[in-house]
């Protein structure tokens, strides 16, 4: 069953289309990582999903129902831009959260504040950006949510607390929660997400299980004695998603049938031909590369 259903979401601001016909279902108990360059439409998708922005068209459901105030009883949202009240103390934020949620767990909140080393008596404006992010995460996880929507949750956190944040996400998912989160840090998505979705210019350009995505595509790298030249027909081969040339190196991103492509390249007499598994970074860069750039530049 899908805990988050986004169907044909389009959001326009005047003539500008921020999100263009995006469809995304996130299974209950899974972690979905949303990647994309700045302005790809990730935050707008989240805002539409949560009712903070009105969708121009499309259907949005959480736990099988349209989003209402009641949805937030079991949903936690951490926005990209800190949404805490700077004039309030951390303790007052905890009191506010306790009053707003029936399933607020005070012990969990105290535990998380201790982990993040936050003084609850402090005003939020006296905290660093990373500490403010930690408070936002504390409030989110303290309500024991069934659905978590996290927009750049590690923003400002140091590497140690970024790891803590990832552990919280993985732990929540292990407990049955559904997590949809965006990040610019590909390593975080690679570590925590079961599934990766990549957006570009408001459109969803790649969507799949992380292991499948990695297994589906290979990088074939050929090193030549002289300037690399792509063989005829390689660029138009439907199995080849992208070709990069860099001096004597020719790299082909191949979806299936890598052995055929290896043979084709070996026919050109290279010094060496190697086949690599893709990293998520390779997948991301390939997905967000400019259209029509199948032939890479030197």
């Amino acid at each position: 069953m899908s805990a988050i259903e986004i169907h044909n979401l389009t959001k326009r601001y005047g003539a500008q289309t921020a999100v263009d016909d995006v469809t995304l279902d996130v299974d209950a108990g899974s972690v979905c990582g949303l990647l994309g360059p700045n302005g790809a439409g990730k935050s707008t998708t989240f805002k539409c999903l949560l009712g903070l922005a009105h969708a121009t068209s499309g259907s949005l459901r959480i736990s099988g129902a349209p989003v209402t105030a009641q949805t937030f009883e079991s949903l936690a949202y951490v926005p990209e831009k800190n949404d805490l009240y700077c004039w309030m103390t951390v303790r007052e934020h905890l009191a506010l959260t306790r009053r707003a949620y029936r399933n607020y767990d005070a012990a969990r909140a105290a535990e998380l504040l201790a982990i993040f080393k936050i003084d609850s008596a402090k005003l939020v404006k006296r905290l660093s950006k990373g500490q403010q992010s930690a408070v936002a995460l504390t409030l989110a996880f303290a309500i024991r949510p069934r659905v978590l929507v996290l927009d750049e949750p590690s923003s400002g956190l140091d590497p140690i607390f970024q790891r803590t944040m990832l552990d919280l996400v993985i732990d929540a998912a292990a407990g049955g929660a559904t997590v949809l989160f965006s990040s610019h840090q590909i390593g975080q998505v690679e570590r925590a997400a079961d599934r990766v979705v990549i957006m570009k210019n408001g459109k969803l350009v790649l969507d799949g299980n992380l292991d499948t995505l990695k297994g589906d595509e290979k990088i074939i790298e050929a090193v030549f004695d002289a300037e690399a030249v792509a063989p005829n027909g390689l660029a138009s081969d439907p199995r080849v998603r992208r070709i990069e040339r860099s001096g004597r190196i020719l790299r082909a991103y191949v979806r299936t049938g890598s052995s055929d492509i290896v043979r084709l390249l070996e026919g050109l007499g290279p010094k060496a031909v190697s086949v690599y598994d893709l990293s998520l970074e390779d997948i991301f860069l390939g997905a967000v590369a400019d259209d029509g750039s199948k032939q890479g530049v030197d």
Binding site: L50, A69, E80, K81, D83, Y85, R99
Partner: protein
């Protein structure tokens, strides 16, 4: 979520309450000084010349001191209500853009399990209670101050005291509601609208009313003036012991009370509906 608004009210009340206490203390000191100088601090239809509170004797020509209790003045509660109403109006304008304050963020209030309509109602109810509380606090503070300088016995409940309170609070609620309606649907700073509303109500409005540019202009100014809370309640008029609310629109008290409270409540409802459509 109204907890946030309660905290805002608490913070505003701390500062504003301190200012009111200071002002009352200054007024008490001024009243005492005035009595010592021979001025009459209250209301009387008969002029009484007070020579001095204390005087060193010995000189047969020196006028004999009079005790305050000998003075025939009274202090109508309606007059205090008139002053307290202005305190409440100022406080109402401070609280006015409370919905607007939630728009300039990432939607903390909007991602909690309470609908915006309910949140708006809670904010408005909390603010209205605070405005009435401010009025009551101001009256109590002034009565306490009067008691401290030994004039409690001079207080009288005059026939228009409740009328003045209802008119003044009506103007406060109207101003509060209009500020909510003008600020709930956008992200511009609410404080800007507080300032502009004071300039419009207390400077532009009276000046426009005073300018004679023909009947059409006058009619337009009068029409716009119906949105000026200070045109409904412009303080009190005293005549001897009688204190009555003053309205530059020439309305009776009942009309003033009905219109101001109605405009305020309708404006709050419009603000809540507009707030519902705000995008973050």
């Amino acid at each position: 979520m109204d907890y946030v608004e309660l905290l805002r009210i608490r913070n505003a009340a701390r500062i504003y309450g301190s200012i009111l206490v200071l002002l009352v203390a200054i007024a008490m000191a001024a009243a005492l000084w005035g009595i010592q100088q021979g001025h009459e601090p209250g209301f009387s239809s008969d002029r009484v010349t007070v020579i001095s509170i204390s005087s060193d004797t010995g000189d047969a020509k020196t006028p004999v001191a009079k005790s305050i209790s000998d003075l025939p003045f009274t202090i109508p509660i309606g007059f205090l209500a008139g002053i307290a109403a202005f305190a409440a109006i100022i406080f109402a304008t401070i609280l006015g853009p409370s919905m607007n304050k939630e728009n300039d963020g990432a939607g903390f209030a909007f991602t909690k399990p309470v609908s915006r309509e309910r949140l708006a109602i809670r904010y408005v109810l909390a603010d209205l209670a605070a405005i009435i509380g401010c009025f009551a606090f101001s009256v109590t503070l002034m009565v306490a101050g009067i008691a401290l300088i030994g004039l409690f016995g001079r207080l009288v409940i005059d026939p228009h005291a409740f009328e003045i309170a209802a008119c003044g609070l009506g103007a406060a609620v109207m101003w509060y509601g209009l500020l909510q309606a003008f600020t709930s649907w956008h992200r511009l700073p609410g404080g800007l609208f507080i300032g502009l509303s004071w300039i419009a109500a207390s400077v532009v409005g009276p000046i426009a009313s005073a300018i004679d540019l023909g009947p059409a202009f006058h009619a337009a100014v009068m029409a716009v003036d119906h949105l000026n809370p200070l045109a409904y309640y412009g303080g009190v008029t005293t005549s001897g012991h009688l204190v009555t609310p003053r309205s530059s629109l020439g309305l009776g008290s009942l009309e003033t009370i009905g219109l101001t409270w109605s405009i305020g409540i309708v404006a709050c409802a419009v603000a809540a509906l507009s707030w519902k459509r705000v995008e973050i």
